[in-house]
Symmetry: C2
Subunit: 353 residues, 2 copies
């Protein structure tokens, strides 16, 4: 998508310099900075510290991580396990690692293995971008139907960042919004700030602003009130892992919005590439993160510098759980690159790879 008129992906292989580059998402929305990944350790660090985040982008970064590990002559299996351990919830991480492993395993020659890993990582990126475009093409029908039935803009509420920054390009939940805007449909997005890491306020707001799409940042507490007052037409969220039964694991707080949508008759959809569906299990490991993400926050201070301020009393502890599970009964449908499906086992089985 566009940043100040220039097209970027969130991760790419620079053929000329033979390095992997990413956008450092920990500095957004205040600074736009490109980083190089040169080693396995760079890749693990980028995922762990959330320089890259979002289930599809985590997968793509892990694939490049295996390429960098082989280039460094590190043992493949160790690199695989190290990358797998960076974050527990996104199922794409294992999916991408497995896919690279399958491509590399039959090969003996080191330089062939390196080349195949790079090729697979790049294919994962291209397919992710293309899947997201397809998610947008399917999902836009939901927005178009609403636009045709009402006056004024279609109000979309989203949680966290499931825009292009969460993927290689185009986004999952935001792909239908981009598609709608390109089709001349009037859309306005309510952006949940998404505490504690504020991916909504810092990433979704930034990417919508850079595309010139009307949006308004709200506290996570606000969506229920908006839905009670008919100020939301549809909720669109991403997912870090959706199970074959249609239970949607996404950023903490998603469940609360789904409850409010259900209580007020607002459609609630998750947009997910097939690679983030867990076809084998309904058990989802939920990541807990550093309590300091709650007790402290980063922002741009009055001197225009990035700074960190403490919000809580010294003597208070915090608990930081990163995801919750929205039960399928609250989900109107799952938007995938293959179409829109009801959130249940029978329907999702139709697209099981």
């Amino acid at each position: 998508m566009l940043v100040d008129g220039k097209h970027f992906r969130t991760i790419w292989f620079d053929e000329q310099d033979q390095v992997v580059r990413i956008i450092d998402q920990t500095r957004l929305p205040h600074h736009f900075k490109i980083l190089e990944l040169n080693t396995l350790e760079d890749s693990c660090f980028a995922i762990r510290t959330m320089q890259v985040r979002g289930a599809p982008l985590i997968g793509a970064t892990a694939a490049f991580g295996l390429y960098l590990a082989l280039k460094e002559d590190l043992p493949f299996e160790e690199a695989f396990n190290q990358l797998l351990a960076t974050r527990p919830t996104a199922v794409n991480l294992r999916w991408a690692l497995d896919r690279v492993a399958a491509a590399v395993e039959p090969l003996q020659d080191h330089s062939q293995r390196v080349a195949s890993t790079l090729e697979t990582a790049q294919a994962i990126c291209d397919e992710d971008a293309s899947n997201c475009t397809d998610i947008g093409r399917h999902g836009v029908s939901l927005i178009r139907d609403i636009a045709q039935a009402k006056k004024g803009p279609v109000h979309v509420l989203t949680h966290c960042n499931a825009g292009w920054l969460a993927t290689v390009d185009r986004g999952t939940a935001m792909a239908p919004v981009y598609e709608a805007v390109e089709n001349g449909i009037d859309v306005h997005v309510w952006v949940d700030e998404t505490r504690p890491r504020n991916q909504g306020a810092s990433l979704t707001a930034w990417e919508l602003y850079k595309q010139g799409i009307p949006h308004t940042v709200i506290a996570d507490n606000t969506g229920g009130h908006l839905m009670q007052n008919r100020m939301v037409d549809i909720c669109l969220v991403g997912s870090d892992r959706t199970t074959f039964r249609g239970n949607v694991c996404n950023k903490i707080g998603t469940y609360l919005k789904a409850l409010a949508a259900h209580d007020n008759g607002v459609p609630f959809y998750a947009a997910v590439p097939l690679s983030s569906i867990d076809w084998t299990s309904d058990e989802i490991p939920i990541e807990t993160r550093d309590p300091e993400e709650i007790t402290h926050i980063h922002g741009l201070n009055t001197q225009g510098m990035l700074d960190r301020v403490r919000l809580t009393p010294e003597g208070s502890t915090a608990y930081n759980v990163a995801f919750d599970i929205t039960p399928a009964r609250l989900v109107s449908g799952i938007i995938t690159e293959k179409g829109i499906f009801q959130a249940n086992e029978d329907n999702l089985a139709k697209i099981k790879p």
Copy 2:
């Protein structure tokens, strides 16, 4: 309640210095600072900028504001209207102003009017403290029943600050917690940070810490997940205005927690003094506040100074609505100084003054 072992109220008349004093709640939890209110304007400023907040405390401050206005020889009705306009949602504000007006109206003599205003303001404070104690005595039965039926601490979830800092003393939603702890019941409080103004992270956490009560700060997004996982035994919240039909207006986001409580069979109670019940109307004006409360946040910076950082992109706007309404159907009961009542017109009519 206690601050470092010494008993404080949130507002009091200092007989010796003949001034009204308050705790400046905008500086908590980082600095504990006492301010003087000497004029009507001081009082309006304190309410408007939330140096004092919480429905009962707003009422008490407004009553003292009328006293200060009369002492300044300002016209009573003008002062009344100026105070009434400071914040729109809390019904105690009008209740307290009306009560002072009723006491003062029959009097002609200026010094008698001044004395009567002060006396009424002090009576409002004493009664508020006593009502909160009674709310605690009634509400503790809910916590005791849970404690007797389970092992380990009773996990209470609360939203915003409905502790002693929201009242003159003792609190509304936190009064049953204080009562429980004083009765030897093992309690742990999940404290919603309560964006955008973070009254939970900064005020509730601080007051629980100062009383030595186990508590954990969480992002507002977290409560649903905790309830799904049986980590919350009861939700206790305050209310800025509860209507005679049992609809509870409270800090934005309360409705989302009530939905989650309902979905998971967790009891959800609002603790409210009778003075915050609106007996005449089911219409509640909802305050919208400065978007900068969302785009920026205050905290203690790395140099130990209070600072303000920006969270959102320069080009993004925000919408800041301060309250939402939890419909009576989601409320297990209303805890008042007269006992616990079902949230419906018939039951609440029993305690209509």
